[in-house]
Amino acid sequence: MVHWTAEEKQLITSVWGKVDVADCGGEALARLLIVYPWTQRFFDTFGNLSSPTAIVGNPKVRAHGQKVLTSFGEAIKNLDNLKATYSKLSELHCEKLHVDPENFRILGDILVIVLATHFGKDFTPACQATWQKLVGVVAHALARNYH
C-alpha cells in the first residue's frame, strides 16, 4: 500500500481544490493527442483530430478529458485504497479498451505539465514531486489487473 505523508496529502488537496476538472482534463487529453500523436489510435470515433486546433476544439476530446480527470478525483478521495478504486477500470482498460499502460504514464506527465502552466511558481519542486508520485501510483493501479 502506498504511504502518503500529511504534507503530500496537503499538497494534493490544495492543488486539486483549485483545478477546473473540465478545463484541465480537456487540456491534458488534447495535449496528449497533440504531443504524442500515436495516442490518437484509441480515438477513431472522435471525429476531427487532424490538427492541434481541431483537437483542442474537439468537444469529444474535452468531454473525455473531463471524464478521465473526474476519475482522478476519485483517486484523490481514496488515496489509501487506490487498488480497489481502480480495479474495475483496470480490467476495462485491459480487456475492452486494450490500452498499453505506458499511455497512463505519459498522460500523467502531461497532467503535471498542465498543472505547472496553471499554477506557475506555486507548483514548486516539492509539489511536482508529490504529483509525480500520484500520477505514478494511479498509472500503476490502472495497470494492475492487466493479464
Binding site: A30, R31, I34, V35, P52, I55, V56, D109, V112, I113, V114, A116, T117, H118, F119, G120, K121, F123, P125, A126, Q128, A129, Q132, K133
Partner: protein
C-alpha cells in the same frame, strides 16, 4: 523522429524568450528532477543537494547552455553536441532513461515560468527537441 521546420521555429522562439534565464531554468530543472526522481541523484553523490547549492547552479548552467547551443545549431544537433556525446558515452554513462526525466522536468520548468509560451504546438516541438537531444547524447553508447 524528425524536427519539422515548424518545430525548429518553435524551439528557437522558446530559447530566444528564455535564453536570459537559462542558468536559472537549468538549475530548476535539475532540482525538480532530483526531487521527483530520486534515483537521478545517484549520478551526483558528491553534490550538495540543498536548494540553490553552488554545485546545482553550476551544473544547471552547463545543462542550460548545452540546450541553447543545440537550439542555435538546430540543423545539426549531433554535430553541435558531438563532444558532449563522447563525454556521456565514455565517461558519464548516464542511463538513457534519465534524459527523458530531465527533459520532462525542463518542460515543467518552462511551463511554470511561461505558461502562455507553452501552447500545445510549442509543447510538442520542445518535447521532440528534448528527445532529440537525449538521443544524440546517448547515440555513441554502443
Amino acid at each position: 523522429m524528425v524536427l519539422s521546420s515548424a518545430d525548429k521555429a518553435n524551439v528557437k522562439a522558446v530559447f530566444s524568450k528564455i535564453g536570459g534565464h537559462i542558468e536559472e531554468y537549468g538549475s530548476e530543472a535539475l532540482e525538480r528532477m532530483f526531487f521527483s526522481f530520486p534515483s537521478t541523484k545517484t549520478y551526483f553523490p558528491h553534490f550538495d543537494m540543498c536548494k540553490g547549492s553552488a554545485q546545482i547552479r553550476a551544473h544547471g548552467k552547463k545543462v542550460g547552455c548545452a540546450l541553447v547551443e543545440a537550439s542555435n545549431h538546430i540543423e545539426d544537433i549531433p554535430g553541435a553536441l558531438s563532444k558532449l556525446s563522447d563525454l556521456h558515452a565514455q565517461k558519464l554513462r548516464v542511463d538513457p532513461v534519465n534524459f527523458k526525466l530531465l527533459g520532462h522536468c525542463f518542460l515543467v520548468t518552462v511551463a511554470a515560468h511561461n505558461p502562455s509560451l507553452l501552447t500545445p504546438e510549442v509543447h510538442a516541438s520542445l518535447d521532440k527537441f528534448m528527445c532529440t537531444v537525449g538521443t544524440v547524447l546517448t547515440s555513441k553508447y554502443r
